[in-house]
């Protein structure tokens, strides 16, 4: 918390300087980046279809990336850049510093954010997807603040420059950067802390490989290797084609890797749900048909849509509550040892009450009877 406050003051000072450099550019940068931040936030937040992470922790991860990681990276990148210049000379530094320093410095600082989330709330980091969500949120916060620096500092800060920066760094390449790198790092950390069924060395190896993959992807992005970004004067048509293509060459392979890993993590979560819910199947809290619906977010949405059409909004809202309570019941099974733990018993009672209310709402609706 102290670190967040300290770096927060530093970050505020930096933002004030950027605003003084170009008030209109600074405002436009934040307005444009809000268009990136909100959908990306929702996309990442909603990825975990079974157990959404607490908003307080998710916002904490975002704040760590936006405030602490960016401020500390600004200091550290500069100093490590000077070290590269001393060891390799300024010419090498001019070409390679961004690749040699930023990936290690920034990925480490962002990873610290995920580790802190784990230390604050160990029980919330209980799967690979959780690690991805927290890591990606740290990366999202980092990307937004870093982009304000780029738009005002590197792209000239005037509205035309800011729009150019938004095109290059967000529209053409916004899918490939910090969100993916630290999402992958978060998965590595989650693997290490959750796969306690494996030997420590094996966990360390796998987690290290994921973190290293994030650093290597960042290195490739910052390095002159495979750099097809056009230089010099470009027509608008050339820029609209050449820049996204150049970004895709560096970014798409890593994007594909992360999408595959997130897909595997979601499949793992579904298996986790099946195992966790097995003890409740056939009981009053959960039927096999309900579990089949719970497993797939699309089926859950479809069931609520059908319920709303047939029995109204209140019934659909109650069905949504029932589904969440059933998912929570499964989650409780993963944490609690005995079947008759008071928390489990209490959750079953809440499910029974919601089910009764839902049946009453369905019966009261004028659209005809429905079975629950």
């Amino acid at each position: 918390m102290l670190l967040l406050v300290g770096t927060g003051l530093l970050a505020l000072g930096q933002q004030r300087s950027l605003r003084e450099m170009s008030p209109s550019g600074w405002m436009l940068s934040w307005a444009l980046l809000a268009l990136y931040l909100v959908p990306m936030f929702l996309l990442v937040y909603l990825l975990d279809a079974y157990e959404r992470e607490p908003l307080s922790l998710v916002l904490g991860a975002l704040a760590w990336g936006a405030v602490a990681a960016t401020s500390l990276a600004g200091l550290a990148n500069h100093d490590w850049g000077a070290v590269v210049a001393r060891l390799g000379g300024p010419d090498l530094a001019a070409q390679w510093t961004a690749a040699l320093t930023a990936p290690l410095v920034e990925e480490t600082l962002k990873a610290v954010g995920v580790v802190l989330i784990y230390l604050i709330a160990r029980s919330e980091l209980n799967g690979l997807l959780d690690g991805f969500v927290y890591g990606a949120m740290v990366g999202l916060g980092f990307a937004v603040v870093e982009n304000v620096f780029y738009f005002v500092g590197q792209f000239g800060g005037q509205p035309a420059g800011v729009l150019g920066g938004f095109f290059v760094r967000v529209l053409a390449s916004g899918l490939y950067g910090h969100v993916l790198y630290s999402g992958l790092t978060g998965m590595g950390i989650a693997w290490f802390v959750t796969r306690t069924d494996q030997r420590r060395g094996r966990r360390l190896l796998f987690a290290g490989a994921l973190c290293l993959a994030a650093v290597l992807a960042h290195f490739l992005w910052n390095s002159p290797l495979l750099n097809l970004f056009p230089t010099g004067e470009l027509t608008l048509a050339e820029a609209l084609v050449a820049i996204p293509l150049a970004a895709a060459v560096k970014g798409v392979p890593f994007l594909v890797l992360v999408v595959l890993l997130v897909g595997l993590a979601r499949r793992q979560e579904r298996r986790w749900l099946e195992v966790a819910a097995a003890g409740e199947l056939g009981g009053p809290a959960l039927s096999a048909e309900e579990l089949a619906v719970l497993e797939r977010p699309r089926r859950r949405w479809a069931a609520r849509r059908v319920m709303r059409r047939r029995s109204g909004r209140r019934a659909a809202a109650l069905l949504r509550r029932l589904q969440r309570q059933q998912l929570s019941l499964a989650m409780l099974h993963t944490r609690l040892a005995g079947d008759e733990d008071p928390d489990l018993v209490g959750q079953r009672q809440r499910i029974a009450q919601t089910r009764q209310a839902l049946q009453a709402a369905v019966a009261a609706s004028s659209r005809g009877p429905a079975t629950v």
């Binding site: 490590w80 010419d91 600082l109």
Partner: protein
């Protein structure tokens, strides 16, 4: 610990790698300690310190000169006659050397003629006056590498003895 290593480690490593050499006497009352990798070449009344891509020219001036006046004279007599599209930073930044002498600094960018071709350069001029001597330090490099020269040249200027 990891956090400290990442954030402070660069500064510690940079300090360990930057070893000042023996002082080079530029003129009476003006001396500079070049950092490792920099060599000195006498050039008229002054000395040029260089490491290939980066340069620091040190010109002595008479005692009692005013730093702002020295900086203005340097722009008129050295930078403007040799540059095209010269742009200077707004205002003069006050600097204080390790020995307590005060001076002023400004940054510049432009295309300079030299060795038969025009070269874009970025640099910083620091004018310092002591009680018995004064000097103008002009550091420059290609714009893409100047950022990586700045730490060295500023350290050499700030550890220089003037007066």
């Amino acid at each position: 610990m990891v956090l400290a290593a990442v954030v402070v480690g660069g500064r510690v490593a940079d300090s360990a790698l930057s070893v000042p050499g023996q002082p080079v006497q530029v003129a009476a009352g003006v001396s500079v300690r070049p950092l490792s990798g920099w060599r000195s070449v006498r050039q008229g009344p002054g000395v040029l310190f260089t490491r290939g891509s980066g340069n620091l020219s040190v010109l002595p001036a008479g005692a009692g000169a005013d730093p702002a006046g020295l900086a203005g004279a340097y722009v008129r007599q050295v930078l403007q006659p040799n540059a095209q599209g010269l742009s200077l930073s707004k205002g003069l930044q006050r600097v204080r050397l390790g020995g307590g002498q005060v001076g002023v600094r400004f940054a510049y960018q432009g295309t300079f003629r030299g060795q038969g071709r025009a070269t874009p350069l970025q640099g910083e001029v620091t004018a310092v006056a002591g009680s018995r001597a004064a000097a103008v330090f002009d550091a420059w490099a290609a714009p893409e590498v100047y950022e990586y020269e700045r730490a060295d040249v500023q350290e050499m200027v700030e550890t220089a003895e003037v007066g």
